[in-house]
């Protein structure tokens, strides 16, 4: 037993140590000092409250998307469309901010609800394509991501362009009552968004582990066919998982426009949804871990802003480190499964997907 714990810890730590080592070697290879890089990233993230706020502001949408994706992964779905769902959430929230006139707090509530509606609808489209027209959610999602971006760019350069003659780069800045208030100028983070992340974490954790719905999602994800035979409404489960994820992604998108940019911009989702996919790949279906690993990613990425300015090092170094971590963790998961007969590993989404793919093949 003790050996096994040791092995598990080893398999968890080894890939992280290895990826840090590889990245350090790369830094040396391009003629820099890994120590300086470490200091720059740490300072970039934790120098003062403003720098730390930058980390939190990137972490909020990342954490939300990761939590949403845990729901769809539980149901055995690769919701790659999460990026577009974020974008549509941003578009819907921007609609509220630009065209609805209500007192501040009510308006913000309406904007967030609109974002949830938009993200949910966009995810429902993925679900519709999958359940009715047998379009795999990956293909449907990719197509809808592109559509969401094109739609946003169209709105920004056309109907929603600022009256003063737009530059097609952004809508007019939102009015003050439409944007999320910051905790303080020294710590510009939205308290409302922090509360929303906390609430989502609690709700997702509880819904997946303590409700009938969560059980149905799990059954659908593990083996949709047997689940159906056992009376689980698998189509409805898949659909509901997608819609919930879309709603949460919509909130994430709204945060990007209602706080980070205070206007609608092209590509405002910024690949955060895709990054969230990586986070969930790393942590499996554990909501709390997703939030923590998401935070670590945010530290590395936001901190690396300083890399470019202070050391003139390419910021994508952070992406390289991240890529190595994900790759090596997945590799080590694979190895662990080979060396141990650890049953908990079947909780990870990659295995779930194997089941899913097998199932599709059986149908085919």
């Amino acid at each position: 037993m003790k050996n096994r714990t040791l092995l598990t810890v080893g398999f968890a730590l080894l890939p992280i140590i290895a990826s840090v080592a590889i990245t350090a070697l790369l830094i040396v290879a391009v003629g820099s000092n890994p120590g300086d890089v470490f200091v720059a990233v740490t300072e970039g993230a934790f120098r003062d409250s403003r720098a730390f706020a930058g980390v939190i502001n990137f972490w909020i949408p990342l954490a939300l998307c990761s939590l949403g994706l845990i729901v769809t992964f539980t149901a055995g779905l690769w919701n790659i469309g999460v990026e577009g769902q974020m974008m549509i959430g941003a578009v819907f929230a921007a609609y509220g901010a630009l065209f609805i006139d209500l007192p501040g707090p009510v308006l913000i509530l309406v904007e967030i609800l609109l974002a949830m509606l938009g993200g949910g609808l966009w995810a429902a489209l993925v679900g519709f394509l999958k359940t009715r027209l047998a379009v795999h959610e990956i293909f449907g999602g990719v197509a809808l991501n592109a559509l969401a971006n094109v739609w946003a760019i169209y709105l920004i350069s056309g109907p929603w362009a600022p009256p003063s003659g737009g530059t097609a780069q952004a809508t007019a800045p939102f009015k003050d009552t439409a944007v999320l208030p910051a905790i303080s100028p020294e710590f510009p983070v939205s308290l409302i968004a922090l509360l929303l992340v906390t609430a989502t974490l609690v709700i997702v954790s509880f819904a997946l582990s303590g409700t009938r719905w969560g059980l149905q999602l799990k059954a659908t994800g593990k083996n949709s066919r047997s689940a159906l035979l056992l009376g689980v409404p698998t189509t409805r489960s898949a659909m509901s998982a997608l819609i919930v994820c879309g709603m949460v992604a919509g909130i994430a998108g709204s945060y990007r426009v209602l706080f980070t940019y205070e206007s609608l911009r092209p590509l405002v989702s910024g690949g955060i949804g895709f990054l969230a996919l990586l986070v969930v790949l790393l942590v499996g279906l554990r909501p709390l871990f997703a939030v923590i690993v998401g935070f670590a990613f945010a530290v590395i990425l936001a901190g690396s802003t300083r890399l470019k300015v202070a050391l003139q090092l390419d910021q994508s170094l952070a992406g390289v480190l991240q890529g190595f971590i994900v790759l090596l963790v997945l590799l080590s998961n694979g190895l662990r499964q080979r060396f141990t007969s650890d049953s908990t590993s079947s909780e990870t989404p990659n295995t779930t997907t194997t089941v899913e793919i097998q199932r599709t093949q059986e149908h085919g």
């Binding site: 760019i153 530059t167 097609a168 800045p173």
Partner: protein, 399 residues
């Protein structure tokens, strides 16, 4: 004796090192650049980066720090506020935000750092009165170099069909495309002897300043479409270099095609033989004067729309915009282009001509037929700046 001499030299050097070097270090003046694309894009962003290098050469003790590729797709984890904070933290005393994408954010960030001057490139918030007291604007009069580029295209085309690869649609991109069109029409008629109404000038807007797979139209594909549908010259209005790359590839397969890249003086190098020339920005001199003014404490915000130095539009120390002729021009075309540039210069420097752009004179209509200028009337430069549609006669979308 020799040893004494050596000792003297060492002491002298140490003295210099101890006094002068710290004094120099104290004199160091750090300026920050925020780029929307990578610093080596051979286009818009590289032109700014090289201006920063130019400043370092021209102003002793000046040092550039910069942040490349600040846009939601490449750097979702950071915003202009974060980057400006970082640059100021590293000592920046003036910050250039080099894209209209940063226009609104520059105002907001400048309010957070009221003691630091910000210069937003290509914006007009100083002009419209929206900018706070520490924000100025700078733009080169690319209209002139686009007119020249259009002329080169009009001289070279054998099929009478020119394609213009546009980015997104706004005032700036419309007036640049329209300037190119006017230049092409003029030279097609006056030098080549063609009927300007037979000239086809098609604009395809890809949707953004550079290719974003799945989001914009693919500039590679659009360039090929231009060539496949009869155009033999493609002009680029985007930040990157697809037009000239594709023209080079097709010429290598025996086709007679040309291209005009944009923004960056060295862009012809990609495929010299098919390059008719490149209209480019030379931000260096304007950067130097702004930074010198900030350094001397004499800087005040303004909206600067800087034209070429008509004595030599390619003078790196004086001209804000220029046009480098490409090896793709024949000798005759090259001479014709020189004569055209000389005509532009005499127009622009004629004290009796009101401030305006050559060829931007009536009769000119907007695309929907609305009159922009009656016969003989010059278009006001601000009406060019805020051009609401492309011009009648051009093929393509206005919004």
């Amino acid at each position: 004796m020799q040893r004494k001499g050596l000792l003297f030299v060492i002491v002298a050097l140490a003295f210099v090192a101890l006094t002068v070097v710290p004094a120099l270090a104290q004199d160091e003046f750090v300026f920050g650049l925020v780029l929307v694309g990578p610093e080596n894009d051979r286009g818009w962003s590289q032109a700014h980066y090289e201006a920063g290098l130019y400043v370092q050469e021209q102003i002793p003790g000046s040092r550039m720090i910069f942040f490349p590729s600040l846009n939601p797709a490449d750097a979702p984890e950071t915003t202009l506020l974060d980057v400006a904070t970082e640059l100021i933290d590293q000592g920046a005393q003036v910050i250039f935000t080099t894209s209209d994408a940063f226009e609104e954010d520059t105002d907001a960030v400048a309010e957070a750092f009221p003691d630091t001057p910000f210069i937003n490139i290509s914006g007009d918030n100083y002009l419209t009165g929206e900018a706070p007291a520490n924000v100025g604007n700078l733009m080169g009069q690319g209209e002139w170099s686009k007119i020249i580029a259009g002329c080169a295209a009009g001289l070279a085309t054998e099929t009478g069909s020119i394609g213009y690869l546009g980015p997104l649609i706004n005032g700036e991109t419309r007036r640049f495309a329209a300037s190119a069109y006017l230049g092409a029409r003029y030279c097609y008629e006056h030098y080549k002897g063609g009927n300007p109404d037979d000239l086809t000038f098609t604009v395809t807007w890809i949707g953004f300043w550079f290719n974003i797979p799945g989001v914009t139209l693919d500039p590679t594909e659009e360039t090929n479409t231009f060539f496949d549908s009869g155009a033999d010259v493609v002009m680029s209005g985007i930040d990157t270099t697809e037009a000239i790359t594709i023209a080079g590839q097709r010429a290598a397969q025996g086709e007679t095609v040309w291209a005009l890249p944009y923004d960056f003086i060295g862009a012809c190098d990609i495929a010299p033989d098919v390059c008719l020339g490149v209209p480019y920005f030379n931000w260096g001199p304007s950067y130097v004067s702004a930074i010198q003014a900030v350094k001397d404490g004499t800087w005040t915000p303004s909206w600067d729309w800087v034209g070429p130095d008509w004595t030599d539009i390619n003078n790196p120390d004086t001209s804000a915009v220029g046009f480098v002729k490409g090896p793709g021009l024949t000798e005759e075309q090259s001479a014709q282009l020189d004569s055209f540039i000389a005509d532009l210069a005499s127009f622009a420097t004629n004290p009796f001509v009101p401030n305006s752009f050559a060829l931007w004179s009536g009769p000119l209509n907007l695309q929907d037929g609305t009159e922009l200028a009656a016969a003989g009337q010059l278009v006001d430069p601000l009406d060019v700046w805020y051009l609401p549609q492309i011009l009648e006669g051009m093929v393509g979308a206005s919004e």
